[in-house]
Every structure is written in structure tokens, then in C-alpha cells.
Symmetry: D2
Subunit: 353 residues, 4 copies
């Protein structure tokens, strides 16, 4: 690719927006041309407007850029990465798609729309083709694709491997989620130090539903939800980054721990998604130690893009128990949208300049 | 009671032993006459031998007492509270029972013995009568009763209320456990800061089995295990004190959230256990806020003896979901043994002096 | 005292306000008659308006009270405890004093006024008499007294003992402060988990100046600042409650560690302040262990009102080094104001009803 | 360099040993040929013997290596990196030097020896020449050099810049140190969660003395200690990695904040140390934000090798106040020893193979 594709980061000053800036630094295909923010930031240099929270230095190119308003869309890019709050996304993302921009959104606003796919390239790259129906129906020259809620992300990758091999009937999932998932300032320190908060607003419904869409079947026109039932409990714990889930799974047919391990270890995902710049490598890191995965030790696996699975064992009620981990603001947010954009380019759904 | 009953604390220098010392300070029925410890401590004053970790000052009477060896049993008490490691408990506790001492043990060594009850007075006070068969069979003038693993404790109280009203068929339980449950020094800080450890050795089997014994039926000779299946995942989180569990329950018959709430709120336990000095008050604190219980806010409820339940709601797979909390080193350890001893006195199984 | 004195808590829904509610529950002299809050809370029951963060249950009398506006002052009390933000305190507190109410303020708004004392009863009870000059000068029938910044509190108690015995010339102080000192929501969890923030706005100037006023001399008309120089660094650490300070002190004359220990241990403060209901007991708890004080172990000493000192040793540059600890929202905030009110009653500056 | 120099890591299974393994992966000059450990590990593959705690995967070459005993020295390398406990270092390091091996030690055992330099290449590269006198005096063909205590490290870099420009007379330093500095298992989680421990054994004496040696003058035969006095308080805080110090400095001559900032920003260290593979870049990162440095945000600066300074301001007692941060197990331990070895190679004190 001789020339990089110009992209915008919408909501660039928040924690997910900052993660986009960090991950897009030196990206081989994309070049950040626009950073947008709220009224408070607009007109200021990003370096001044943004309370930078990443543990690597802010890239110099970003520090110098002037923050633009998200709407009206008076900027010209091929791709817009959206870290917008759901309410603003609801208005802004269709306006961008209307203008011919490919919106790769981390927001939840459109995930439930029948013609908007929720994509994890290593799981359901083919769902990206739903955007053809979307464009036709909505008269857009651009498009909207979404990535799932951060808590659904790693779990869905592991479930996909098992579903392909054995089918999937029931799922119990209990999460222990990092504070970065609540944004910034997000959860008050006095609420979470030496504590667990066993509640995250609206999260359980997402975790019970989104995997069914991603693991569903693309018919050419729409997605048929996968036919399994899920029950989720979601919790906030004093961890900076990375969501850990304990899951119990009833499969379509029984499987031994050994066979399941083999399947998880061998899983590579659709071929088209394997060699994208930010593709997870490995897709699944199956650990054999008794006490892994752990957020502090596993959050950097595959540059934060891998799904880490461990403690695979029999379940007294269902078939299998295991622990699934993934990085919530990398794989589960900015990295997820970024990988989706790479997939769209690879599939010819975003033209290279 | 005009004169207090002399008691021993076995393993008094560890964290559970210290909690016994703290809770027995000014106890109306019991007076600590003996503190035992390991070779390193024996012969020293408790105040010197013990690295005190409680957040109230060490009682002066304790500081002055000389630490004795646990065995041979050359001390004379009516009750021994055991905070011994399982391996040492295996030897020492029968020796004490043989000598006529009532052992109220927090150790796991004898919980699986058919003639040793696991007792939560507000759940299964009647199981204490199993000690008659125990004495007969083993030829003891003393006895051994145990309290459950700290993680089983609060959950079993909540389950008892539901079982009585609706029956109980399946249980899915995921714990987020405090570091104090691992003893001292226990878990290294570098392993748990900004982290979750999704593994606690041998814990899941206990959590899946012990409630079945406590919720089982005392036949006069033995305990028939309750007929339900459980699946547990146990995790360590960066919380100082108090275990939080997310549970999903399939009942014997469907129950609405309102009916279940009513049952939990009304639960008082067997009459004989209600007015013991350390009886939990309330037995169950059912919270209606969306985000409770939480360890930091709820660990002192009922002086750490209550079971706190919250987030009661429908479950898509089973009938009900909820969050259950109890203090692991108070209700789940030292306070549990203490309450068992109070029950035995009340039932006439330990004679008052 | 046959009848309790009616008091108001201003800014009752914040963390310091909640601490006032907790500490005033069952107070022998005072009865809470009024709770005030911001517009958002006014008109609601306190139990609904307040996101309760204390680890004991909200008193029932508080839950039922309706929250009133702070101004205009249309309520009738003898004492107002102020947990107001400095900006609002600036307006509201004089209005209350004008109306004849004794304002015991935790706010910083008036601490620098020459006729407003900063009082720690165990240090400078006599400074309370400054309110006579204050009333005369300002034409108030009420009064305003303040307690110091939470970080200055414990340190000033320890310094007073040393100053009385040896004089005081220079002070280095570095704080490690709890997150509760930042209010609620206060500091974001993502800013403090696994982290230290070496900056607290405006704090260092307070810590360098307030002790000089409290350790100064009351001339009958005003306070002459104590003649020593201080240098402070203030830091936020991941601790829920309790501020720890490392201090190095140059005295007026050299003192051995033993003599200084003797002085600290013997310090009892002015006689008039010794038997107030919330007087610290002990005033200073001098620890001899090598590694104390520690927030988790020492924050409940003297019901959170004591100053805990440890690690007393020689300093290579100045005379003495030590570590000083006190509870920031009890002794350093609500408990401090409460103790001041008790002192004023005892001194006859607030008439009993 | 066509061939890499064979090196050993002594005490390779501990946390500092693991950090050596991590940092030496793909090193351009050095190749790990030997890993040593304690009796428990000897004879096992490193991948099995070592409870890996780093947040990147264990290099495959390391996992396969067999752990050897540290002594007797029956292995052949040019350099030995020592992460040994002081007691074992005392015996083993001279034996290695005797055998012709260059020991770059992180242990404290020999730091006080007059003929053993404590080296920070960006501060006192010239002190490395002291090994000539050392070899002569001790009859060694090898040598021992040390790096300082982790807490002295960053502070000494900042002080060097100021000393060169303005001289140095007095230093007051208070540390807030990460738990990784205590090794593994090190500090118990129950001791540090929601807590500060204001004591670290033997640490303060090191922090008061070691900088005087490093900032001293190499006379050709020995080091004359720098002529300033220091007072240190050292504390443990709940931070995983990275030590933060608040320091106040009295200079030889007054300097404005602006001049000091200029000096710190411009500091580059001796030319010979500037382009070593692990040389810090920048040497000093002077932050202008009001609230930096912070461990979570700054620990990766310059791959963990930079000294990060912030909050530079006037001091009411001395001349300047500031906050200094450096990564304790990278710059302050393994990375420090590694950089010392690189310096020795560059200076021709270790022959390339």
C-alpha cells in the first residue's frame, strides 16, 4: 500500500479514543487525519485538550493536531473510528455513513440493528458482507460496522471454536471486569478500592445477547441468532485493564476436556482475517497452568489482541468450565474497531486511496 | 450464667486464631484459658509471639498469656476452638475429644466424616444432635463439630431459606474471595495487586459438596445429603475481608422474584439458634439497591455475622440469580465456630461449669 | 444534660456530611435537627438523596429526615456543622453566625481570617476564646470556629507535645493521603489503582501554614503564628481512610529519642479538653513496633480520634524523624468539628438549651 | 560484534532474575549461557523451576535451559549478572571474580567495599576504572561492579545533574516504593492492600549513603564520598512496579526553578555511556504537568530505564523540591546491572569474545 488511508477518531480525548491514538501510531495502512472531541476540547491542540492516561507517551503528531467537532461532518476521511457515547453515536454515525465514510464503531448504539453486523474478524468475518444490504436499505455510500461489548469479546472467540466443533446450547458467564471499562473518570476510587461492585448497568443483557448475534448465521440478507441461552452476572473488580470471565458451557454434544483443549488450541478463525496487521496472534492462547489467565500477567498477550483461556475442566452441571480473559480496551474496544477496519479494507469494502 | 466456661484457642497466632481472640474478648459465656501455637511460639507471651493483624487492639489478657503447645493435651478446658491447619487438626482434634473436650473446629479435616456435622446454627441446628452418634461410635466423652468452608457459609444460609420454601435442584456459583481467606502471609501482594487469580486449591469441591451436607436431612443417625447438583468457580480478588458470590439457582418449583424476596427477608432460622450471643441479626439482610452487597460496605453487617443478599432477579437459564456476601473470617471462620459452641451450650451438649 | 442541643449538618450528603451523621448517632449532647444539601437533594428524604458510603448502616432517624436548603437560613439550631465546599461556606457560614448559630466548620474558607481560630482541643483549646473578639468585631451573636485540614491534624498534635517540651524550629513533612480526603466521587479509580499521585491541589500551602497558627500564641485579641518554617510534599496513595506522614523535626533544643518518646507518651493536652465525649483516648498512641503506624491497622484507634505516632528515631539533618497517622475523615474532618463543638459547650460558648 | 558474549544469570528464578531473562532476550551483545538457582531448582528446566511473574511470555530459549547451581563455579562465561541474596553473593561473587568472570551485581554485599564501585553509567561511568585497583589488590582476573539500591537509583541521576551545576549540600528524601522491590513472595497482600507500611528494613541507611559514593570523586585509587548529608524515610505502598521519591535539596549555591529545570532537561551523562544498547533515552524526562511522575503512567519511559522528574519547585527550607521516579526492577535492578556490563564492554574492561 503506497499511500495510507486517512481516518478520523471520533471522541478522541476519552480513554477509548486515546487507545485508538496509541494503536494507530505507525499503523501501516491508516493515517490519522482527524481527531474529534466535545465542545470543551474543540479548537484546542489534542495535547492540551486531552488528559492522557496511556502508559506510553502521546505521539507527537497527535499532540499537535487540533481537535475538531464530531458534527457537522466537515472533514474528509475514508474511515471513522467511533469512541462516541451511545447517545451521540446515534446521531453522528449515520451522518458519517451517509457521507460515504466507513464507520467502525465501538459504541453500542447500532449493535441491535438487523442490518448492522457486530464483528470479531477471527469469529465472523463473513458478517461484514451484511453491509451490502445495509447500504442498499439505507441508501448510504458509507457504512457502519460495530465490535461487541468488551465483556462479550473474548468469550465469543472461545465459544466460536467450541460451537464449530461441538455445537452450543447453554452458557453461564460471570465476569470480573476492569475499571477502565467504565471510562474516565468512570468509577470512583472510593467505590472500588478493597471492594467488588456486583453490578454494571445494562451489561448483563449485552453479554447474554451479543454472542448470539456474532455466533449466528449470515443468510446473505440478515443474521439468524444462534440458538443457545445465556445467563450472565457482571461485576467490577479493582483491576486496571482486562476482563476475566468464568464460564460454564453446555455443548450440542459432549466433549472431553482433551478434545475441547485441542479444538481451542487449533482454532485460527477465517482465513481472510489471519494476516491483518492487528490480527491476534495467537487467536487463542490456551494456558495449562492451574491458575491462569490473570489480568496482570496476560493482558499483553498478542499485543493485547489474543483471547487467553485457562482452567479448562469438566462441569458438574454442564459439560465444560473454563476461564476466559481478554484486554477490554485493546481487543474489546479500540483494537477491535481497528481490526474490523482492516478486515473491511481486505474485503474491498473500504477502497484504498 | 454465673461463671464463664473455660475455652482454648488452638492455633491462636494465625489470622483465624487472632479473630477468635478478638471475638471472645468480653464474651458473656466463655473465658479464654488457653492459647496454643506452633513450636516457634510456645513458651512466649502471646503479645510477643503473635504478629497481630486485627484492626482493634490486642486484648490485654491475651497479650499476657503464655502460648502452650497444642499437643499433648495437658490443659483443662470445656471447649476448644480450632484454627489449626487440616494436617494438625487431623491428629489433635480427636485427642481433645477423647479427653472430654468439645472441639468446635474451623478446620476441614473432619467435615466429610459421616458422624461429624457441619453446622450453621441458623440453618441446621438439629444436625448438632449427630454428636450423640459420634460419641457412641467413637467412645468419646468430648465431641467434634465443624463449621463450613468460608465460601460455602453465606450461600448456604440463603439457599436454606429458598430450599424450605421452594426446594432446590441446581446451583451455579462463582466466588470473588478476600485475601484473608488464604491465611497469613497467604497470597503474595505481587500476585493479587491489580489482578484476579481464578484459582483456589481444593476450594471448588468444598463449595459444591458442603452445602449438600448442611442442607441434608438428619435421620437421627446420620445426614442424608440434599439432592441437588452444584457447579462452582472460585476466584481470589484484591479485597481484604468478605467473600462475594454470584449464584444462579434452579428451585424445586418456580418462584417469582417477589416471593423469593419475601422468603429471604422473613427467614429467621431454627428457634433454638435465634438468641445466642453471636447469632446473626438479621440472619439475612436483603438489600434492594441495584449494586449491593459490596465487601467494603457490608462486611460489618450484624457484627460480621449476617448474610447479605442482593440483586435478586430472574435467571434466563435457571429460576433466580442473586449475589450473596458474608464475612469470611468472622461468619465464615472464627465467628462460625463460636456460634456453634454457643449452640452446643444452649442444647446442653456442653455443660455449663 | 437533660435535653440535647439541636444541631444542623450542612452539606450532609457528601462523605464528610455522612461521617457527621454517623458520629452524631446517639450523641449524648447533640441532636440532629436539620440536614442540608444541594438543590438536587432538597425536598427528598435523606435516605433517598444520599448515596451512603459509610460501613455502618444509615441511622433510621437520618433516613427519614427531609433535606433542607443550606441558605436561606430558615431553620433553628444552636450549632451548625459545616461540611460545605469552600465557595459555599464563604457565603453561608457568616449568615449562620449572624443569626446566632455556632458554626463548627470543616471548610477552609475562614481558616486564614485573623479572628477565626483553627482548633484542635487537645492542642489549643484556649484559642476558642478568640471568638469573643470575633463576635465583637463582626457583630455576630453566633460564631465560626474551624478545624484544620485533615493532613495538618495528627501532625500538629504530635508537634504540640514536642514544642511544649523542646521548642520547634524546622519541619519537613511528606504525606501519603487516603482517597476519602478527595471527597466523592473524588479521585477516579483509574488514576490511583496501582499508582501514586504526587500532587494534591493547594494542600501543601495549608500543611505548611495551619500548624503555625494552631501552635501559635493567643494574645487575648489575636493569634501570633509560631515561629518555625515548614516544607511539605503531599501525595495521594491507594488507601481508603487515614493519612500517614513522614516528618523530620528540628527542635528548639536537642532531645534524645527517649526523652521525645516520653514526652509524646505523656502528652494529654489542656485539661478542659480531656473528658469531652469525643476526646481522643489516648491523645497520642506511641507505637514501639518498627513498622507502625499503618492505615489499615491504626485507623480505628481511639474510635478514629487518636493520633498514632511511630518509628521515632534520630534524623541525620534535623533532630528527630517519625511517622504520624490520623484518620482523615474522623479526626481530620467530621470528628474534629464535633470535638470543637463539644469544647465550645464545655467552655460555655454555646449555651446548653 | 560478530559473536555474542556468553553470560550467566545468578539467582535466575527470583523476580530480579526473571527481569534479567526478559531484558537479555535478543540482546545484541550478550547471550545467556547459564541460569543458576537454588537447590530446589537445580536440575530442572527453567520453564518448570520458575514461577514466571513477568507480563511478557518467558523466552523459549530460557524455558528449555537447565538450572545450574551457582557454586561451585563449573560454568564458563565472561559475565555473570547477580540477582543473588546478599548472604550468598558474599561467597559466590568473589569466587566468580577469582575465576576471571566479570560480576555485575545487583546485590548489596560489596557496595560498601572501598575498591568496589557502585555504578550508574549516566552518572559516574569513570568509577568503573576502580576495578583496576580492585583486581590488583585482590589478585582477580575477573571483577565485581555493583549497581545501587533501587531506591537510590533515580534520585542519584537527578542529583548528579544538579550537583554538576550548583553543588549539593543537603538532601531530604521520602520514598513510596513498589512491592516488587521486596522480591517474591515478598510482602503479604494482607499487609499492603488498602495500606502503607512506613518501614523497609535497612533501606534508609542505603539511601542516605549510596548516593554519596556514586556522586563522589574517583581519585584513581579510590572514591572520595561526596560531602553532603541526607535524611531518608522509606515506605512501601500498594504499587506493583516503580519507586516514587519526594526530595528536597539544598544546593551549593542557590538556583532558580528555571535554571534547575534547564540543567535537568539538558543532562546527558558521560559521553561514553550515551549510546549503549540499554542506555536510558532520555536520561532524564522532566515533566511539566502538575501531577507527574506517576508509577502507572511513567514506568515504561525509555523502556523503564529513564529517570522521570516532575513537580520541580522552590522549597521553603532548602532550595528545591521535586518528585523523582524510576522503575525499580528495570533501571533499579536488572537493567542497571545490564547497563553496567555494557559499559564495561565499551570501556574494554570485558573483552569481546
Amino acid at each position: 500500500m503506497s499511500q495510507r488511508i486517512p481516518v478520523a477518531i471520533l471522541g478522541a480525548t476519552g480513554t477509548v479514543g486515546q487507545r485508538f491514538v496509541q494503536l494507530l501510531d505507525h499503523h501501516p495502512w491508516f493515517e490519522v487525519a482527524v481527531l474529534t472531541g466535545s465542545d470543551r476540547s474543540v479548537g484546542h491542540a489534542y495535547g492540551e485538550a486531552c488528559h492522557w492516561l496511556m502508559d506510553t507517551a502521546m505521539p507527537e503528531w497527535a499532540a499537535k493536531m487540533q481537535v475538531l467537532p464530531t458534527t457537522p461532518v466537515e472533514y474528509d476521511v475514508a474511515v471513522a473510528f467511533s469512541a462516541l457515547p451511545a447517545g451521540i453515536a446515534k446521531e453522528a454515525e449515520p451522518a458519517l455513513a451517509q457521507k460515504g465514510i466507513a464507520v467502525c464503531s465501538n459504541a453500542s448504539a447500532f449493535r441491535k440493528e438487523p442490518d448492522v453486523p457486530i464483528i470479531l474478524p477471527e469469529v465472523n468475518a463473513d458478517h461484514a458482507n451484511l453491509v451490502k444490504a445495509q447500504r442498499e436499505r439505507r441508501g448510504w455510500s458509507g457504512l457502519i460496522v460495530t465490535n461487541p461489548n468488551c465483556t462479550s469479546t473474548g468469550m465469543t472467540v472461545a465459544l466460536k471454536a467450541l460451537q464449530d466443533a461441538f455445537g452450543l446450547k447453554k452458557l453461564f458467564a460471570v465476569s470480573m471486569q476492569a475499571i477502565s471499562g467504565a471510562g474516565y473518570p468512570g468509577i470512583a476510587s472510593y467505590d472500588i478500592l478493597d471492594n467488588v461492585v456486583p453490578y454494571i448497568g445494562d451489561e448483563e443483557a449485552k453479554v447474554e445477547w451479543e454472542p448470539r448475534k456474532m455466533l449466528g448465521t449470515f443468510t446473505g440478507e440478515s443474521i439468524e441468532l444462534a440458538d443457545f441461552q445465556a445467563s450472565a452476572h457482571t461485576n467490577r473488580v479493582p483491576v486496571s485493564d482486562g476482563h476475566t470471565l468464568c464460564i460454564s458451557v453446555e455443548l450440542g454434544q459432549p466433549a472431553s476436556v482433551e478434545d475441547a483443549a485441542q479444538v481451542l488450541r487449533a482454532y485460527r478463525g477465517p482465513e481472510i482475517a489471519r494476516d491483518l496487521p492487528w490480527a491476534p496472534n495467537p487467536v487463542i492462547d490456551l494456558r495449562s497452568e492451574p491458575d491462569r489467565p490473570q489480568p496482570r500477567l496476560d493482558r499483553r498477550t498478542g499485543k493485547g489482541m489474543s483471547t487467553v483461556v485457562g482452567r479448562l475442566r469438566s462441569d458438574p452441571l454442564f459439560h465444560l468450565k473454563m476461564v476466559v480473559f481478554s484486554h477490554n480496551t485493546v481487543r474489546g474496544a479500540a483494537g477491535g474497531s481497528l481490526l474490523n477496519a482492516e478486515l473491511l479494507v481486505k474485503m474491498g469494502l473500504i477502497p484504498a486511496p
